[in-house]
Amino acid sequence: MSSRLPTGGRVDRSAPLRFTFDGVEYPGLSGDTLASALIANGVLTVGPSLYRERPRGVVTAGVDDPHALVQLERPQNEPMQLATTVELCDGLVATGLQGRGRLEEEPDEALFDKTYLHTDVLVVGAGPAGLAAALAAGRSGARVVLVDDQPELGGALLGGREEIDGRPGPAWVAEVRAELETQPETRVLTRATAIGYHDRNYVLVAERRPDRPGGGGRLWHLRARQVVLATGAHERPLVFAGNDRPGVMAAAAVRTYLGRYAVLPGRRAVVFTTGDSAYATALELAAAGAVVPALVDTRPEPPAALVEAARAAGIEVLAGSAVVGTEGEERLTGVRVSALTDDGQLTGAVQELACDLLAVSGGWSPAVHLWSMARGTVRYDEALAAFVPDRAAQDVRTAGSARGRHDLAGCLTEGLTAGAEAATAAGFPVEVPATPSCTGDEPPAAPRPVWLVPGESGDPSTWRDHFVDTQRDATVADVHRAVRAGMRSVEHIKRYTTIGTAHDQGKSCGVAAIGVIAQLLGARSPGEVGTTTYRGPYVPVSFALLAGRERGPLFDPVRTTPVHPWHVRRGAVFENVGQWHRPRYYPRPGEDMDAAVLRECRAAREGVAMMDASTLGKIDVIGPDAGVFLDRLYTNGFAKLPVGSARYGVMCRADGMVFDDGVTVRLAPDHYYLTTTTGNAAAVLDWMEEWLQTEWPELRVSCTSVTEQWTTVAVVGPRSREVLAALAPGLDVSNEAFPFMTVRHTELANGLPARICRISFSGELSYEVNVAGWYGLALWEAVLAYGAHAGITPYGTETMHVLRAEKGYPIVGQDTDGTVTPQDLGMSWIVARHKDFVGRRSFARADTSRVDRKHLVGLLPVDRAELLPEGAQLVAPGTDVTAVPAESLGHVTSSYRSAALGRTFALALVRGGRDRIGDTVLAPLPDGRTVAATVTEPVLFDPKGTRRDG
């Protein structure tokens, strides 16, 4: 049977929809929520409760519903949606949940966006106070953003019967909206929920976009000069036996369902209230055709005018009374009512009233969530029986029921004032507009809060149907047990009972729970107990919304060199090095990595090979003091480096540990060109700038990253000179004219200006040819062409690693780990004795000067074919590795098959390693084998360096 009223409401009767809930198809209307459509179809029960499997239904009409949770299946799959906030659309499919949702592994094409916006005034909430605030602020010319979580502006006015300026509330709303639309600097966001309030008025707003594919929403990042919170209030439940039964609803929500959605949630309704506001619900229920046998008011003497109005509508007012129990199974069938003594005890006979709806108002809790997230304090107002905003910690104001003001005129006045003041404070002075006249919502009389309606029998320890947090199935008995166990802090009781930790985060039950706790602790009022901390987000938001577009390829940018397209065409296998994609090797058909690398290595050692080395960090260090500066950062000297020459250097952190290394070229007396490791380029530049600016501002030096400005191709191998000669016909490439560790500038055969460094990371004759970045691919192809006759072979990082390891050159970050000094690497020769540099002092400390530190050494597996795994641990011979803890000597840092050596080899950090040369160490492997290896000097290939000149 339809509960839809024949007229009224904001739903569009010309736009019927079909939807499916729990497998049954129902009709609905555009403008419905899933909850209102279900109620219209007489469905009040959404799902069983989490633990006790009690039937649970819709309670409120918004984000504060305690348990009306559904799994949305269409238009998109999304768990744990509140039926009270899901906008109905045609074809919607949902199922009720037992407090727990399902994640589905299905492709999700939705796109979520982020927008960043600065504003002068942000108004949160578009009920009467928020609309008034936005209106007043907007008239100042300030930039104003108004956000509201509903599809329509107006808040409670949409479902109410109040009048403003002699017209119905919605008409006033439309007028305000029209004016806001004429304000060029005002932006209105609907379906937009402020979820977080951070430092410096940084407010996050989650916008729902149901019209987008998959409902992909948008996260607004707003930075506001001034904020007005007009977030309204949540109606509190009351704690009595059986208060969780479907049919027990919030009184204001009942009014919203009647007025805004034109549905009648019950035909025979009892109202149970502690204050004035529920009288309107009772009257409107009666006006809509429901039988309202009684209005139960905890106050012994409710305001006479309200009582009179109720009686005139045929509603009996049971003053000084409370609902003490409910009847029914799947749905409420009746309530039990008892009179209350002055101190809240039950007295007299219990009266039974048949009904299918109980509209409950336990009072109003201002929605102070955002206020509190903004670090504003709250205080307990005894007269209002509510926690209200107290001291602001940021440039923020509250207005309307968000600060405990519950009459319409007051809300409008506060809104207008807050809006005008906010605009003025933001630098846009404006008068406070006059408050329009309004009727239908007078200032309420004092409520009589009742935090715990006693049970008809037993004591709190037995009140297991007095629900405090319905979603958690937590009851008065649970709170009592926590208190009896010694818990005194509300935080402990919350954790003991899990109250307030469910999906709703205690929006409706939180303060009611504090009331119960206060009562059981014997506190005078909830104010003595205090609230728990409010944490964002105000409503749950999807991971996808927060991730935005930073997914897939956009999760982290990929950096590639100008030669990259060639690498891809050539079928390179890539590895991630920092953000770079670098070719690891270039397999030929049928080759695995080992075969490809052996071939590439052989080419470099026996013929000529080439590599895209463009990812190396490159920094121009320019200025009259550049040499002095580098002397202070590198362990070795650069000030005396001749122009045109290059030198290898090592940089340490102040703690003496190796930070980076690379070759630096002096291009001019005041110009050094410094290279860094690929992964450290940004860190090295940061490091240099930090020292320059914060310690040595007197040095006349500037540092500029030129990594992307140069493409670098290494031409390596005994035949590299002849390739270079062809590539650079104007250059005398003889060893005498172009010696090792020097730089030359020339024009290549194809006309490209080039900077060529004769440096080597392989021990072979080798050149690094640099051209402007945008010529990179042309350079690469030219090197290929001029090297074709010599069979030039492109190689990747793996071959580079093998070649350098054969020469004992460490890779910072692979052969070092942040605990390694230059001396540990066997590089005492690079540590200057007669100058200070960053880190030098650290070498003299007790631990850093130990002789048995871990040293970088070579390892030759006794079995020449055995490849030690990189990372493998090393132990001394005779170590029983099953007798844990067994002593480790160190670990393998690099390990390869060497074409040049005709065997496997490794580098390792080994305790006292340099004193173990010639000894055997053992590597226990994951497969249970133990592999023996001989400790050697780290340089295994061409230790005398005979090959570098070709």
Partner: protein, 406 residues
Amino acid sequence: MPDQLPEHPDWLWRTPDPKPSYDVVVVGAGGHGLATAYYLARNHGITNVAVLERGWLAGGNMARNTTIIRSNYLCEESAAIYEHALKLWEGLPEELEYDFLFSQRGVLNLAHTLQDVREGTRRVGANRLGGVDAEWLDPDEVRAFCPIVNTSPNVRYPVLGATLQPRAGIAKHDHVAWALARKADAYGVDLIQNCEVTGFVQDRDGRVVGVETTRGRIAAGRVALAAAGHTSTLTDLLGLRLPIQSHPLQALVSELLEPVHPTVVMSNHVHVYVSQAHKGELVMGAGIDSYNGYGQRGSFHQIEHQMAAALELFPIFARAHVLRTWGGIVDVTPDASPIIGPTPVANLFVNCGWGTGGFKATPASGWVYADTIAHGRPHPLAAPFALERFTTGALIDEHGAAAVAH
């Protein structure tokens, strides 16, 4: 229907007023302070002990962590103390007579780069030598162990493998703290909440002989700080400077979801650590904010980045929802390892700098600290973590190979 959590006991602890004097005053009723008090009583028979807490018991990092327990640290000194903790964890539910949902569901540490693979291999080998269970899984084995991890090679940072510590897992943090508190209380330890230490009482020789608090002066034979991020604000009162910095660290939970995630997954490179708790909520940590902060809140972009990282590894999480975020204060040392031991101030002991490792260390931290306090010298497992290492340079540098150590 999810399993209902085990009920808490009918009785937990007293709410006593402070006595004028105790043999040992522990400052801070977090997990470490409570464990210290428990082991002082249990192992050393020292029960005339007060644990002073400025707020509510176990309301700091103990209430704010992501509850991961593991011992697969790289440095042998670290692995030794965390493994001691893990062995204690394995016996604690029975010993404390409290089901705190210790679940040894394993922890995967994913490798995304070749260097990650080297480091993972190194860690597995080091752990095995140290007596810590550890395995290396290839991507197929990762998928078999945790099917929802995206092991496709076509992602920005493909999973190249993972280390697995099978004995690692999670526990319910509040329950752990309460279990320790209940037993300590039963031994006669006074757990005194809402009692902030505002100063130290020193004799003429500079020895600490008591503390000033918001509830009056309390004399003490020994004072043991267990105040995490607030430790240096206390030692500053004595002119003792500690190398710790306090940073915000955030975490979050989702709503309750049907079980999808059987283990704990951590990725340093993509920066994710996530498990699914017993009731069904996903529990995740975000990155540490770079700046110092005592506000128990961090910057939201950390959360946003965390979500992006999570979806990179777990596409199925896209429509899960963030229900609640929060922040703690982590006290970080230069080498990401704790400081445990006596101090240059007589009768004053410190145990701080646990950074992101505090929860998992709880029982061992309390064990070695209690021993150190009782005997006035470092417990052997604590000795490497002495303050002196910052002078000698003998750091225990978990930063070195394991950039983040949650």
